[in-house]
Symmetry: C2
Subunit: 226 residues, 2 copies
């Protein structure tokens, strides 16, 4: 029965591709409304006017649909970030600021997809063959690039042993990135994630705090630390 994930280009294949996309769209709508555990194949099928088993023509099972949503989301985030980092001012600080704002904006616009990326997979979810880390590389690359441009050929490693990122850089094709840039980028990413995560989970709202200034402070702090 295993759904053959063929890739042809006949007239039938175009219909297939389109319906696959509609399934994903419905899935995202469901995630947006009910949280990650609300993704139900039967419910998606019903929303598309089909019955549950029909979806097995398009996706091997629930997990592979989820995996595809994750991969798509990484791609989407990466292009949002690179659009922000590429456009406008040539001043590297301004570009970093734009990147930071784009990161936040993407997460706030689609918090369910952001969660899909940075929360641990749900219980029972098996990422199988697909390497999700690989899918995250492009987004990470944009960040590394922006930070690298800013820091220039800075070789200072902010803290700790310099070999911290050697393995990581080799493994993921970031050999051109210096240890210092890798460390700074990771730190910036962690900081941004902290603010974003607390914001989309409603922790600031429930405390009555507007977190906007935290993002701006992140950029100025980064600039100050150079």
């Amino acid at each position: 029965m295993a759904a053959d994930i063929r890739t042809g280009s006949g007239p039938r294949d175009r219909f297939r591709a389109q319906l696959r996309q509609e399934v994903k769209t419905a899935a995202l709508r469901q995630l947006a409304e009910g949280g990650p555990e609300a993704l139900s194949l039967n419910a998606i099928a019903k929303q598309l006017g089909m019955t549950g088993p029909a979806l097995y023509r398009y996706f091997a099972n629930r997990d592979s649909l989820l995996t595809e949503l994750v991969v798509d989301a990484y791609g989407d985030l990466a292009s949002a970030l690179s659009r922000a980092a590429g456009a406008g001012s040539a001043d590297p600080i301004t570009r970093l600021a734009e990147l930071v704002r784009a990161y936040r904006a993407w997460a706030l616009a689609e918090p369910h997809r952001y969660r899909l990326l940075f929360r641990a997979p749900l219980q029972g979810y098996d990422a199988q063959s697909t390497n999700l880390v690989e899918a995250s590389q492009p987004a990470m690359a944009v960040l590394l690039d922006a930070v690298g441009t800013l820091a220039g050929p800075d070789t200072r490693t902010p803290e700790g042993p310099a070999a911290r990122f050697t393995r990581w850089r080799e493994r993921h094709g970031f050999e051109d990135t210096s240890e210092a840039v890798a460390a700074r980028s990771t730190m910036l990413w962690a900081h941004l994630h902290g603010i974003v995560a607390l914001e989309i989970e409603g922790n600031f709202t429930s405390m009555g705090i507007d977190p906007s200034f935290l993002y701006e402070a992140e950029v100025t702090d980064f600039a100050r630390s150079l």
Copy 2:
């Protein structure tokens, strides 16, 4: 049928209290193994050698059990933090460092409880009357205190309008905390949360990065910014 949440001290009441505790323990074990959505009253009951409906003698429903777990977790985190901030060195920087390490240690030791605190409530979860923000105050107070001691009577507000935290401080009984301290604390908390969240969700592991140095950098950066 509504479970009367009485509080007596007769011999029967002691049994009640004990069984309530056992239910919570079983619930936590379940959360630890299967994620937040794995909390099932029936499964808990089975684990305690009872049938599902019996639990309704002890908790009004699934949501109130969850709420109680959240409140307990906030209390536990607060005491872990205050133990760390109170003990050892009198040097305020060292004490902040201990607090940061304690925050991480608590989250790593019980990631399921950490998630319970800082992830948005599950779909369908209704916090009803219990104010969870209130339950988080003690932990926040420890942080504010540690940062406040460090910064001294510093009245500089790092970024943005000074009135950012006025409402928050009034609402939550932190009138003695300056704007600057509130802002710095929030920022530090967000940063820590970012690292912790990425760490417990396995994002660093899957990338082959050891995030330990990020926590230490957090402290040194904080000290440098004074």
